[in-house]
């Protein structure tokens, strides 16, 4: 990311003190480790993936939300069945904006929300029978290729064994039935659910179809959820440069593709947090290496495409990549010429997800806006500090409960050629299995905050008076009451796509509209009489 044209940020120590002073002592001590004043030159520890403190209003959801909502939700041809009382299923019904292209046969179960809708009697006497019956019903209605079961909090407590039910039904119906023990109280956030989803998909789905798909090169795209059509955008690029995209985990995806996803030459990881587990396990079992890519930001997209072509060491592909970049960059440059003068020097902050808060900084940099503070909702230390810290992360009680699978080499399908290729490229400096995290990319004195609370956002806004705040719908109307626009990076405010070159253009225009609209002048910000510490400071640089 280019560092030029950026203001030197003031030291926010005072702000940090002020934030912490409002918390009871013990809480303040806990939160202190999650709020880090960044220094990209130094390695600092960012406390993360620790339990949210009760009573503090968090952005985080639960394990079930991460498993059902995020990872499995976007797949169109698995019937997802929530085992539990009605709310959990209802609230996760079409609430994420992943799009899907149901293709020729039109199979798409995403609009359906099946639930066992447990009643008192199920809580008292157990819900396994009802669950089995619900699976039969789902089968009868749709004759699907697979059915999956998601446990919610009460299920774990009353001791329903969903895995036994799944096995029995698999035998009875002759289709794939598998369950996820993703009770909401597990782990500390959605993140636990991602891991549980990765594990079960890997053991029960990946590897069921060993056929070789046509095409010279085959890849998977991991951690891209097709919000607002992002994945559609990228699918076009791969096709153009002559790559067969076997499977996306899990935007615009089909279980048939998951089953075949081990038969590829390379895995590309977009969202490192939610899906690195499958990438790692596939490498161990099948020898498929993975690289980190990022298609958010025009420059980042170009870089990622080149990186793929370099991996395949194919000049023809590289030529196609260059041609694609040249063509697409035209619109990008034109738009920037128009938009950048109006946005330059403005401040942004973003608190979202497990990788978006990092990726989207690219787009802001491209229009000359500076990210003064950022953080994730449910990331781990490696997403902040880079994978180099992986060995040194302490495993606490909450993470210990999430199973780490023991994966062994598949002697028959292991691709011996790929590790060799990897070694050769690595010798030339090509980076595999590598993610350096968010912090090295952020400016000195920017504030990195994990699992930000309402109270903390308020203080940040007062201090930095940013031109835009990025988060999700839960934060949107709070932040906008301050007269600051909030861009949703979960649902994209029903816009998008924002990935790739076209996505970048969409995003520039969207941010331009948001930060420069006249409406905000109607809302006197609460600090109208106070000096603008940071914004002034930044302006002075231009």
């Amino acid at each position: 990311m280019s560092k030029k044209n950026k203001a030197i940020l003031p030291d926010p120590s005072e702000l940090k003190e002020e934030i912490l002073s409002k918390y009871p002592k013990k809480v303040a001590k806990k939160r202190a480790g999650s709020i880090v004043i960044n220094d990209p030159e130094e390695h600092q520890v960012q406390q993360s993936n620790v339990r949210t403190i009760p009573g503090i209003i968090t952005q985080r959801g639960c394990c079930y939300a991460g498993c059902k909502g995020v990872v499995l939700g976007p797949t169109r041809d698995i019937v997802n069945l929530t085992h539990g009382p009605i709310g959990c299923g209802f609230y996760s019904w079409l609430t994420r904006r992943n799009q899907t292209d149901a293709g020729a046969d039109g199979t798409n179960f995403i609009p359906y929300c099946f639930s066992t809708d447990m009643q008192d009697s199920n809580i008292v006497f157990g819900g396994e029978k009802k669950l089995a019956q619900a699976i039969r019903e789902a089968y009868e209605i749709f004759k699907p290729h697979a059915i999956s079961i998601f446990s919610t909090c009460p299920v774990g407590l009353i001791g329903d064994d969903i895995h036994t039910v799944a096995r029995t039904m698999k035998k009875e119906l002759g289709i794939n039935v598998f369950g996820f023990s993703c009770e909401g109280y597990k782990g500390v956030s959605q993140s636990a659910g991602h891991h549980i989803a990765n594990n079960r998909i890997f053991t029960d789905v990946v590897g069921l179809d060993d056929s070789v798909r046509p095409g010279k090169y085959r890849i998977n795209l991991l951690g891209e959820y097709n919000i607002g059509g992002d994945a559609f955008e990228l699918e076009n690029y791969f096709e153009e440069i002559g790559i067969t995209l076997v499977s996306t985990f899990s935007g615009n995806s089909s279980i048939l593709d998951f089953e075949n996803s081990h038969m590829v030459d390379l895995n590309m990881v977009m969202c490192h947090r939610s899906i690195n587990y499958i990438a790692e396990m596939m490498e161990k079992k099948y020898g498929v290496p993975w690289i980190k890519v990022n298609f958010i930001g025009a420059e980042a997209t170009a870089k990622s495409l080149r990186k793929i072509a370099e991996y395949f060491e194919d000049d023809e592909m590289m030529a196609k990549v260059e041609k694609l970049i040249r063509r697409e960059m035209q619109e990008v440059t034109d738009t920037l010429k128009d938009v950048k003068p109006r946005c330059e020097g403005k401040l942004a902050m973003m608190f979202v997800g497990g990788s978006r808060a990092h990726h989207y900084q690219e787009l802001f940099t491209e229009i000359g806006m500076q990210t003064v503070s950022a953080g994730y909702e449910f990331a781990h230390r490696d997403d902040y500090e880079g994978r180099k810290v992986l060995g040194s992360i302490k495993v606490d009680a909450d993470s210990r409960n999430i199973e780490e699978l023991e994966v062994e080499k598949d002697e028959k399908l292991f691709r011996k050629d790929l590790p060799e290729k990897k070694a050769k490229l690595e010798a030339k400096g090509y980076k595999f299995s590598d993610y350096e995290g968010m912090m090295p990319d952020m400016d000195k004195n920017s504030l990195v905050i994990d699992d930000i609370s309402h109270w903390e956002s308020e203080k940040l806004i007062e201090y930095y008076k940013p031109a835009i705040f990025c988060a999700g719908i839960k934060e949107k109307y709070v932040i906008q009451k301050y007269g600051i626009p909030l861009k949703q990076l979960h649902s994209y405010d029903y816009g998008g796509p924002f990935a790739g070159f076209k996505g970048a253009v969409n995003f520039y225009k969207e941010i331009d509209r948001m930060v420069n609209t006249r409406i905000w002048k109607l809302i006197p910000p609460p600090w109208k009489d106070q000096p603008e510490i940071v914004a002034k400071f930044a302006d002075a640089e231009y």
Partner: protein
């Protein structure tokens, strides 16, 4: 009236037509001044519920959670409860902390009154907020049960006996902020002193703020709630309330009371219970009751509103008469709607609710004053059963929440969005349902939707209708 027979009784719920209990309780608690709700359970429930309320009201909705861990799920969450309360106090300094349970905390049998008691004794001598709690396991009932449990808990906890006052309690049920504002106007026009509970007309539909307010302004204060026990009378809208005939709760449900009934029994506050004032007949009943209580005639403004509504009924009768409607959602809202639709000649109606009080049919009969043959009822229903049944019925219009949209899209007919949740249209907070005025707005919307449909489908392209 006929109950719809299902070809196949499903044991799964396919696209539910109900939400979970703590959500309803949180909506009600948002209508209490200076109140911050805490959901005692895992944080996911609070996050989902906030998300849902926010996408409907488009306002900040702060709800705390005690963020259960796996240990707490097994050994109990009192430690987390205490930390949660202390943190809420430090950050929000609320006047009231309202606690709802979840499926999880109910399953492990958390005793919230005891937790509150313990917290109070640990922090004796400190200035504490008031506490109130509602038991809201979602495996029993729907969001409406939660809503009414919360209102009942409020009057039970805070109502204080005393010399009678010349005031009226109004328990409006789960209606929109605009409805609440309207009701206040009506009572003010009558010159009646009143306590409206809950009152989220401001807190869930805030104007822009010049100063950031951590807990939004507005709501019924606990001093006001205290006075509900001394009021002259109560009016409550609804006829089903939280009286589900839920199997495991059957015993306790027999004794279930609404807030109005409780005050009548305990504090001798005369209770007037009536269906939602929707349509002329039901609204007349509301205004007549106000006349009776206040001893004053209906103010001219409302008489004229009534007159205009009757006039509109006449003018647009040909558009709505005989049209077939599907009405779905909360039982009490449906009952109000059906009363109104029946009045305007849309007497071929299928009603669907995800609730299963077992009272729906009977209460519909009461509301329409007959047993109309054109009305079919699907109790304990869901959207997939609705869809399967609807296809044979050839409906002209749907009336209900945003959740029915996927069916109307398929059937290519209009959907009038009312109730909760409305997340695919703007201004859900300002949708009106009640009174002559609310009925007028609903009526206009229905008429226009039918006209627009006809206009668009016509190959001539009418310019006058």
């Amino acid at each position: 009236m006929t109950a719809i027979k299902r070809d196949k009784p499903y044991s799964s719920t396919r696209n539910a037509c109900k939400l979970c209990t703590p959500l309803g309780a949180c909506v009600a608690f948002k209508g209490v001044k200076g109140c911050l709700p805490l959901i005692h359970g895992s944080q996911g429930c609070a996050t989902y519920i906030r998300r849902y309320m926010i996408s409907h009201y488009r306002e900040p909705v702060d709800i705390a959670s005690s963020s259960f861990s796996e240990d707490a799920a097994i050994f109990g969450g009192n430690q987390l409860f205490n930390t949660g309360i202390t943190n809420i106090r430090e950050q929000y300094n609320p006047e009231v902390i309202a606690i709802t349970s979840t499926c999880l905390s109910e399953t492990i049998g958390e005793d919230i009154p005891r937790l509150i008691h313990e917290y109070r004794s640990i922090h004796a001598g400190e200035e504490l907020p008031a506490f109130v709690n509602a038991s809201t396991p979602s495996y029993s009932g729907t969001h409406l049960d939660g809503f009414h449990e919360a209102v009942l808990a409020l009057v039970k906890t805070f109502g204080v006996e005393g010399p009678k006052e010349e005031i009226l309690n109004l328990f409006p049920g789960f209606v929109s902020p605009e409805d609440l504002r309207y009701l206040k106007d009506v009572l003010e026009d009558f010159g009646i002193g009143y306590i409206l509970l809950p009152d989220y007309s401001d807190s869930l539909d805030n104007p822009n703020w010049t100063e950031y307010t951590r807990i939004p302004e507005g709501g019924t204060s606990i001093t006001e709630i205290a006075r509900t026990a001394r009021a002259k009378a109560s009016i409550e809208f609804g006829s089903v309330f939280n009286r589900g005939n839920l199997p495991a709760k059957a015993e306790t449900r027999k004794h279930t009371l609404t807030a109005g009934e409780y005050l009548e029994k305990k504090h001798f506050v005369k209770n007037y219970s009536m269906p939602f004032p929707m349509g002329i007949k039901a609204t007349d009943r509301f205004f007549e009751t106000l006349e009776e209580i206040s001893g004053k005639p209906t103010p001219l403004r409302h008489k004229r509103e009534r007159g205009r509504l009757v006039d509109a009924y006449v003018d647009a009768h040909k558009i709505v008469f005989g049209k077939r409607a599907i009405v779905y959602g909360e039982e009490d809202l449906i009952i109000g709607l059906v009363g109104f639709l029946d009045e305007i000649g849309m007497d071929n109606i299928m009603v669907v609710s995800g609730a299963r009080s077992g009272l729906l049919e009977k209460k519909l009969e009461d509301a329409t004053g007959k047993s109309p043959s054109g009305i079919s009822v699907l109790d304990d229903g869901d959207f997939e059963t609705l869809r399967e049944t609807a296809e044979g019925m050839k409906p002209d219009i749907f009336i209900g929440s945003s959740k029915g949209y996927y069916i109307t899209r398929k059937l290519d007919i209009p959907l009038i969005r009312v109730g909760f949740p409305i997340h695919d249209r703007f201004g859900a907070q300002r949708v009106m349902h009640l009174g002559y005025k609310g009925t007028q707005q609903l009526f206009d919307r229905i008429v226009n939707a039918l006209m627009e449909y006809k206009q668009e489908k016509s190959n001539v392209g009418y310019k006058y209708m």
